[in-house]
Symmetry: D2
Subunit: 333 residues, 4 copies
């Protein structure tokens, strides 16, 4: 329970609004004995920081995380790890002119309807800023995974349907428009046995994790939707002596449990909803209006770009959890 | 916790192996006051029953569900609803000849590695027979939803990449091969506000539900992967006065919360792994072998066909849960 | 979530009404590799069966449990273990004459108010019959614990305030009255480290488990309420070299985590609410009435007597869960 | 899951060590629409603050809470409420001289064994300082409850077995010793129907909540252990027309669900383990040693005194959760 928590054993709870004082994450269930420093977390955060890559928004947050608990003398203690990231560079005033407008593709309409109140500043809780907390928690999960030789790796596969997309991005940015994209994760080495039955299959948890990301619209495992267009005789991965399977169409699991082949999955992201073109909309009172983003607003032309480290972090969180859960699967461990 | 449970408030736990005495589901958290009969559940079960549709496997289970608790004088009482479905037509002997073979696309390899033991008969716990329990529970969820005027509807969109596929299916069946397919769900009328923040977004829970199904390989919401190839100016659904949005590319949610537009998502299924062609494989001892399905084995040429009512049931379960959770979102209900 | 479930990893869900077709329990999270038979569970069930001990009610249920899933060739497989216990000897007609009366000490009033409907037959879901499911699940937990050399043992300490109470019981039974009692659990050998921080302290989970039992009114750990009347210099258990502590006033935990000393706690049970004396009450419509239990009704003169194996079972369930959770506490296991 | 979380819907997660930078709590699931200020939380925190009451330890923490998220324009928004309380007055150096000693009644032994590492400073995670987070969260729960006219009230009933105890306390403090005590909670007005079946009975959740408190050793509901020494004809609360029951021996629930009578329960606390008398102990290396608390150490002579507002806070958290859960009990709400 709790829509702001994820994980069963290695469990995170994130909190914070885009333009509040800070955002943060509490990790409850991280095992003791892991070396951990603020610097390591900071390095991961820099990967998703805006204003770092040429094609991302220009908001500049130092994003210096503070570890407030759960680490003693540089080692995790088994108690909750609280990580706080201050919001330093948030200028909410820019949003004042549009606060009464429903923003296409944004959550202000639904949050207002559901809760009767919405901290609209910078997108509030629904802002992608929350993903910094996921990356911070993912940094801890990665340290745990590294000790087992497990290294999830996310890469950008497509932007706007192109695998080579630099020119397209510049063009679209010039037009004030945006593009969707696809991120792929591979985990080359995974032990057999990770994943729980049925509702906590590896791919079920990964799918939940990925569709919980802002702007994500799809998930596919292994060949994914392509598999739906194949024959069994083509798709089946045949077992071979001395190794595992000849092909890896399944993407690394059988029955939801890792089979020792590389884990492979993809996540689809819609184009950034905030564009620098006028859009027809309505006010919160239901009147027709036009949305014109305030000058100086900062928005990525393609959210998939900055999603890369976030997707990687979520994969790490799922895997860390499944490693711990797997310790409970048989009487002899 | 518990890989065999799904849901937060309206919560199901399924149990049972394909060739055990019975399978079943316990629903904990179904509200009181819902009319419910065994007949209604049976009617839903018949939709997924094998041997009913011309293109499905010929195993014939009466699948007569027994409601063992939680219903009094035809009305749910708020206590757990236990539904049992006997396994009548299970002939395990046919599987004896192949019990020492790793079956391509099947879970016997990973279950054996994870648990050290596997009830291989008919696929055991990993069999699609478990989905009968989901359909039974979904039947209860649908009764609940109906009282709010909510009717999820799943349809088969594609088989083997074709939208018209009868001939292809017969052809493939003649060859002993199988096909993948795509199932689509639409829910025409949904109140605004369903879905919890972040990790329990409507689409996150739907994705978990759908990727927990046997043979499912992908999930997409609204335009899904197609959205990843679009521009923001094309993809954004514009708000319009007096209605909600002009288009419904998003598929019915914003920020993970229903926006009042129809819910639309799709699920990709791989081709049935069990095919009637010889396949190279290895034994559980690691020796090279050939898998030749025993004569009289029953397997669907396309699992997506029988998945239709199961996908619908899982959608119903997610929606029932989110309606209940939404009662807790504000102080005034 | 789910008031009918208990446990985090080794998790049970019980279902069933006293006079329904059957009652049962699903154990999700029992590790694979445990030998288990219906006979072993039956033996545990016989310990709580009515009509066995001279001072318990005369309802005779064979209470033959059926294991419907999760066990293959006599060994647990890691999949859910579904245990069903038929209700054979339930004569609901006796309750017809009192079904419109609020029964002092019973739950029919509160269930009716909460749910608007109540299966009153034999106490329905609120009946102590549900505890048979706990004993069945506890039998499985005990098998798991036994492999670690852990044997929880519950004994009856007091009935009606007396430690020697046979005569008192007969007397009270002759009067148609009932008595309260106290059950004590000791677990001689426990490894250090069981129990999770704060809200899942060993004693917190035990307290929840015990107060979830019908008729239980109190829980105390170690010296319990007596400790509240002591000085620190008396109560503190001093550490001694080569052993653990000199005394065991704490009852086996420090900071909620087992310290290697015997676990000791007690549970208080109120006197059976059903007595064979006329009691003033009101009808469900609010009219004054007199409750006179129907002739031939069966009720224990002291619920604490039959609670002994149930308390033991709940202790076993908590311990099994904590052993599994403890496998996740440090990176090196 | 997660030993540092409590609650199902209104769910808290606490974090922080006694002498770390800060402690805090995240509330996930607090409904929107509640007025909330830092001042209100501060006022609650002052009730448990050391150095305020004459008989409590002299550590002085301003305990000024910061609300970092979840509140907008003074109103809760339905998103997680993160409350941070800085640790200002923590002098860890005093503990250096005793850091290698096992402290009787303390958790350093068990935490070290369980996790292999322990932030011993000021008791680390096992310190009662964590209860400030519970009080902060309880302040929010109380605001929610107040809107329903529900006001839980905790009082100190006994210290060292005495109901009048001021002189005894001074005496014991002079001797450097400590005393146990008993706290009682009453909630005069509760709607009927709060509490979930079986494992989430009102008293089961209260018992878990109370035994999760540092130094608590017992819980009893209504007459509690006294009930175990009574007859049914004495203990039964008889229903009376136009009201609820004549007496309230049960303490406000039937079958674990509130019956409209006042809620009454008690919690037993052991004497403070830290005393200013020399105590024999052993070092973490197993050598005999003497524990002599460093001069200037600050410890309450009776933890039950400062536990009063914490017990009240935990009661408020349980009730808030049960009110929300009860919204899901029937189809018509």
């Amino acid at each position: 329970m709790g829509g702001n928590s994820f994980g069963q054993i290695f469990k995170i709870t994130t909190w914070g609004e885009s333009h509040g004082k800070a955002i943060g994450v509490v990790i409850d269930g991280c095992p003791s004995g892991i070396e951990l420093s603020e610097e390591e977390i900071h390095l991961e955060l820099l990967k998703r920081a805006p204003g770092r890559a040429p094609d991302t928004s220009s908001r500049k947050e130092p994003d210096k995380p503070e570890i407030l608990s759960g680490v003693f003398q540089g080692i995790t203690t088994g108690t909750p790890i609280s990580i706080l990231i201050p919001n330093k560079d948030s200028d909410s005033s820019k949003y004042d002119s549009i606060k009464h407008l429903l923003r296409p593709g944004h959550a202000n309409f639904t949050y207002l309807k559901k809760y009767g109140i919405f901290d609209h500043r910078g997108g509030g809780r629904a802002s992608a800023r929350e993903t910094a907390c996921r990356v911070a928690a993912g940094a801890v999960a990665k340290k745990f995974l590294a000790s087992f030789g497990i290294f999830p790796k996310a890469t950008l596969k497509e932007v706007g349907g192109q695998t080579s997309y630099e020119d397209l991005l510049k063009e679209i940015q010039g037009e004030g428009d945006s593009l969707g994209g696809i991120v792929e994760v591979t985990v080359p080495m995974l032990p057999v046995g990770l994943g729980e039955p049925l509702y906590h299959k590896m791919e079920a948890l990964l799918a939940q994790a990925m569709l919980s990301l802002p702007a994500s619209k799809g998930f596919e495992m292994g060949l994914g939707f392509e598999a739906a267009r194949m024959r069994g005789s083509e798709h089946n991965d045949l077992f071979i002596p001395g190794e595992i399977t000849e092909t890896n169409h399944a993407g690394g699991t059988l029955g939801g449990i890792s089979n020792g082949m590389p884990l492979v999955f993809r996540v689809a992201f819609k184009p950034t909803s905030s564009i620098f073109k006028n859009q027809k909309t309505v006010t919160t009172a239901g009147e027709p209006a036009t949305l014109n983003l305030p000058e100086g607003s900062r928005h990525d032309p393609c959210v998939a770009i900055r999603a890369v480290p976030v997707v990687e972090a979520m994969a790490a969180l799922v895997l860390a959890d499944l490693i711990l859960l797997n310790r409970c699967s048989t009487i002899q461990f």
